[in-house]
């Protein structure tokens, strides 16, 4: 069989297989066993990114320039981790708002603006049509090269004269069949996606087969090819980047990074055909892996080709075919050809569907609907018209691409046209990314950014190609527009450090972004636009029911809505959809449609005719007389008041919270006090019981034992008296304390010489001191002022401190020092002993009542346990302070201060 027939038959078989797979995909979906609901199929469908440019063009580029071809794949690889952040948001927005194309997306974001949709559509058409046409060119060229090399070109079989036309017709058929099945374009094209996933797998395997054959059989593995190439100076250069290429490397990576989600075909497969957001997660690593695999053999094939065809006798773009053919491997050659065919066809199919939806929703439908009243429209005519216009658009796009291939693109390489397309769609990046992350982006900003970016793109990248085609004079490139050298397209504004391509990317994106942000900052924003901005940026916070195209109290009749839906979706379809709506929102049919029904209808229509047209249609059934500006202002005003009231409410609740905190705190303190009181009472009663018990015991002994000697009786009676004294003292002290705490204690203040009080106290305890053999040192300042104090109370304090010191000072060689002096306007008295000292943690607790009682480390409580508590109260009532400084085993120093009277009253003696 001749190669020619082999190619013809295998192409037909391949296309037949493609139709079959798409058909299978559709059928499985109808049976509820979707093949597309699967992260692997999703990831493979994303590989529609790899076109004939990848398949043939990368090798060509690598053969001519070396490593820079990798930027086209490193950009998307770098973008992949960000998919979960960027692409997921876009997917969610599109699902919620039933958006199907990029143009729809941007026009919906910026207030359902038709002109923006038109502009985006035009950008895409101008950017993508040449790109489609080079796929046709690649198919044509691949057939050509096979036949030329096998010497069968002369045979007169008509299709081989124009294989591109044959493929164009076949693809038009495929696209119409599997791309326009339903009126509602938000329905997924599962058959098409299945076929695309298959094509992605096929082209990868075919390329790997060719690469592996050339590397391991044609040559002796990677190192053989590389070491042979290294021996040739101009091939060795392909191993590295020259320093001047770093800028290109960066800009090309950036542009392809943006292209991976901005190309219409990528938007179609990644966003519109997405079944489940979570599929993105697996694609995050699967897709980069796909790209890595398909690039693995590019450089070896390129170098192999350069080594095999040293005189550049063969176009490097065709090495993938030419090398297997050179080795005489017919089957491998056909497989390589079919791989290229699959790369080209998948791109053409998806791009055509995406572009035709865009053209329909943003150009044709608005034109067709404009000026027509809803009442004139007939349902059958609408459906037929929609289907026909979609089919015609598909044919039109493919025809235009074919014509472009025939008459224009013949002279450009795959890569240069591909990159030009990438830069065109990259212009959508600022307004798209701004649209989903920045609420401040406005319609005017988006429009001006796009216009400027697109103009710069056209001027710097398209004009030079037109000049090359000799359709424009060459002095435009050399001298710039009107002879102004700053306007030379290949070095705009005199920027010459970058290559023509890099400066085009730099200027177009820079000016685009600046004007998008700049104009947005100064533009006024309409209410509906602000609302859309909110819904896009915060999409994860809103449910679909929040969407409302109507602001204010405008009246829409349910019947009108139903009528409108029926026009586009049919009577029975509308009935089902309405039933769904009532079920979903658990409401009943009403005469007037509420905002949820209106937005539901708008979303349904958006799936058929695009969001901006849907908005126009829904607005057409809104009662005109209710569309008043005043309503809008009233709503705005109301919402302002709401915001204000809300703030007030928040403030009040904050205050309340503070109050309740304070209340809780007070309650805690009360509970603590209550607890202390209880504890105090139980301690006091306990303390009272001890003397009572002993008094009672002695009384009983006296009563029961008349035979006791008088001495013994005497001894018992004196113990009873002592215990009674102790009780009395305790009771007095409790009463004292009670008086101080309740504030009823009166102090009999008079001017007192504190040294005199100290002397009196010393006299009182002198006997005790002598008995215990304690050395008492007295050190009183002779120049103390008189203080205002209650002398009886004061002596009580000093006696208490002294008796404590006597009690606790060292038993063998006890030592006490008492001193008084004037310091910083207060009279200070210290009582120092050399006892065991008080641990730091107990130094405050000893001033609380009955500390000893709770901490009976000593054998027996000495004293009532209230002495220090009362002393502190007394000093505090004199507006003084009483505290202790002590270290264990170093003794303790109790000090108190009393305020000295003002200088005028200072008395000295």
């Amino acid at each position: 069989m001749s190669l020619q027939w082999l190619i013809l038959i295998s192409s037909l078989l391949y296309l037949g297989l493609l139709f079959g797979i798409a058909y299978l995909g559709e059928r499985q979906t109808q049976r509820g066993k979707s093949l597309v609901n699967n992260p692997y199929v999703y990831s493979l469908s994303l590989a529609v990114f790899c076109t004939a440019w990848t398949y043939y063009g990368s090798v060509g580029q690598a053969a001519r320039q070396g490593v820079p071809f990798l930027t086209t794949y490193l950009g998307p690889t770098l973008m992949a981790p960000l998919w979960w952040i960027v692409l997921r948001k876009i997917i969610r927005i599109c699902k919620v708002q039933r958006i199907t194309t990029l143009a729809d997306f941007l026009s919906a974001r910026y207030g359902n603006n038709i002109s923006l949709g038109v502009l985006v559509t035009l950008v895409c058409i101008l950017g993508i049509l040449p790109y489609i046409s080079i796929q046709l060119k690649a198919i044509g060229a691949s057939v050509d090269i096979l036949l030329t090399h096998s010497g069968q070109k002369s045979t007169l079989v008509t299709w081989t004269n124009d294989p591109a036309l044959f493929i164009t017709i076949a693809l038009a058929g495929f696209t119409i069949l599997f791309g326009t099945r339903q009126v509602d374009v938000t329905k997924r094209h599962e058959g098409m996606v299945t076929a695309i996933a298959f094509e992605s797998l096929f082209k990868l395997l075919a390329f790997l087969a060719v690469g592996a054959y050339i590397t391991f059989i044609g040559f002796n593995g990677f190192s053989d090819i590389f070491s042979q190439a290294q021996a040739v100076p101009h091939l060795r250069e392909l191993f590295t980047l020259s320093p001047s290429q770093y800028a290109d490397w960066f800009w090309l990576t950036l542009v392809s990074l943006l292209a991976i989600f901005l190309l219409p075909r990528q938007f179609q497969v990644a966003v519109k055909e997405n079944v489940n957001e979570r599929h993105l997660l697996r694609a995050t690593w699967l897709f980069p892996l796909y790209l890595l695999l398909i690039n693995l053999f590019v450089l070896p094939i390129a170098l192999g080709g350069n080594l095999l065809f040293p005189e550049q006798s063969v176009d490097a773009d065709t090495y993938v075919l030419a090398i297997p053919q050179y080795f005489g491997k017919d089957v491998l050659t056909v497989v390589a050809f079919l791989g290229g065919l699959s790369a080209a066809t998948s791109m053409i199919i998806v791009s055509t569907i995406a572009l035709s939806t865009m053209v329909n929703n943003n150009l044709l439908v608005p034109i067709w609907l404009s000026g027509k009243s809803i009442r004139e429209l007939k349902r059958e005519r609408i459906n037929r018209a929609l289907f026909n216009s979609r089919r015609l658009t598909i044919i039109g796009i493919l025809l235009l691409a074919y014509l472009y291939f025939k008459f224009v693109s013949g002279q450009f390489s795959l890569v240069s046209i591909g990159i030009t397309s990438f830069v065109a769609v990259a212009q959508l990046a600022p307004c798209l990314l701004g649209g989903i992350f920045w609420k401040g982006g406005t319609y005017q900003g988006a429009l001006s950014g796009l216009l400027i970016g697109f103009t710069v793109w056209f001027y710097t990248l398209v004009i030079p190609t037109i000049v090359q085609a000799e359709l424009l004079p060459s002095h435009l490139l050399e001298q710039g527009l009107l002879g102004i050298s700053a306007l030379r397209p290949e070095s705009l504004f005199g920027l010459t450090v970058f290559s023509p391509l890099s400066q085009a990317i730099f200027w177009s994106l820079l000016l685009n972004t600046i004007s998008y942000i700049g104009v947005s900052l100064f533009a006024t924003v309409s209410v509906s636009e602000r609302k859309q901005a909110e819904l896009f940026v915060d999409v994860f916070q809103y449910s679909p029911s929040t969407l409302s195209p109507l602001e204010g109290a405008k009246v829409v009749l349910t019947a009108d809505i139903e009528e409108l839906l029926a026009k586009f979706l049919g009577r029975s379809g509308t009935r089902t959809l309405m039933k769904n709506f009532y079920q979903q929102y658990r409401t009943k049919p009403q005469r007037e449609a509420d905002y949820r029904l209106v937005s539901y209808a708008e979303r349904l229509l958006a799936g058929v005719i695009g969001s901006s047209s849907a908005n126009v249609m829904v607005m057409s059934v809104v009662r005109k007389d209710d569309l008043l500006l005043e309503d809008l202002f009233r709503v705005l005003d109301e919402s302002q008041q709401l915001v204000y009231a809300n703030q007030k409410l928040k403030q009040k609740s904050r205050e309340l919270e503070q109050l309740s905190q304070q209340l809780k705190q007070a309650n805690r303190e009360l509970q603590k006090l209550d607890y202390l009181k209880d504890e105090f009472i139980s301690t006091v009663t306990h303390e009272l019981r001890t003397p009572i018990t002993s008094i009672r015991a002695f009384c009983e002994i006296l009563q029961d034992s008349p035979e006791l000697s008088p001495e013994e009786q005497e001894q018992f009676l004196s113990t009873i008296i002592k215990e009674t004294d102790r009780m009395e003292r305790l009771i007095n002290q409790v009463l004292d304390l009670e008086k101080f705490e309740s504030g009823t204690q009166q102090l009999h203040l008079q001017l007192v010489d504190i040294n005199q009080v100290i002397q009196e106290a010393i006299t009182t305890v002198s006997q005790l001191v002598k008995e215990k053999d304690i050395s008492l040192q007295v050190n009183l300042s002779p120049t103390l002022p008189m203080v205002s104090a209650d002398p009886d109370r004061l002596i009580q304090v000093i006696l208490n401190l002294l008796s404590n010191a006597i009690k606790f000072c060292n038993s063998s060689n006890g030592y006490i020092r008492i001193s008084s002096y004037l310091v910083e306007g207060v009279v200070k008295v210290n009582v120092l002993d050399n006892g065991k000292g008080i641990p730091a943690e107990s130094q405050e607790m000893i001033f609380e009542g009955f500390f000893q009682a709770h901490n009976q480390t000593t054998k027996k409580p000495v004293g009532s346990g209230l002495g220090l508590t009362i002393s502190r109260k007394i000093i505090e009532h004199h507006r003084g302070k009483l505290w202790v400084e002590s270290e264990p085993e170093q003794g303790s120093k109790f000090s108190f201060t009393l305020p000295a009277p003002p200088i005028g009253r200072k008395l000295s003696y």
Binding site: L74, L78, P81, F226, L241, T253, T284, W285, P288, L292
Partner: protein, 67 residues
């Protein structure tokens, strides 16, 4: 170390590999020499690329960070 959420991890991967695959770090590997029979630059790019895929597999499939 506190386990980062998926978004942070993905952003970090993006930043790190952007750095690794651009000037000036790229220039370090930019040599024509052959390492194990493969051009050093080529080996570096594919190595970094594989490393990134490996990291993504680890985060998404093995570690299963909360999205």
């Amino acid at each position: 170390m506190r386990q980062p959420d998926l978004k942070t991890a993905l952003l970090l991967i993006f930043a790190i590999f952007l750095l690794l695959l651009q000037f000036p770090l790229l220039s370090i590997a930019n040599q024509a020499a052959l390492v194990a029979g493969i051009p050093q630059f080529y080996l570096y790019i594919f190595g970094v690329w594989s490393l990134m895929i490996g990291l993504l597999v680890y985060l998404v499939e093995i570690k299963r960070l909360k999205p």
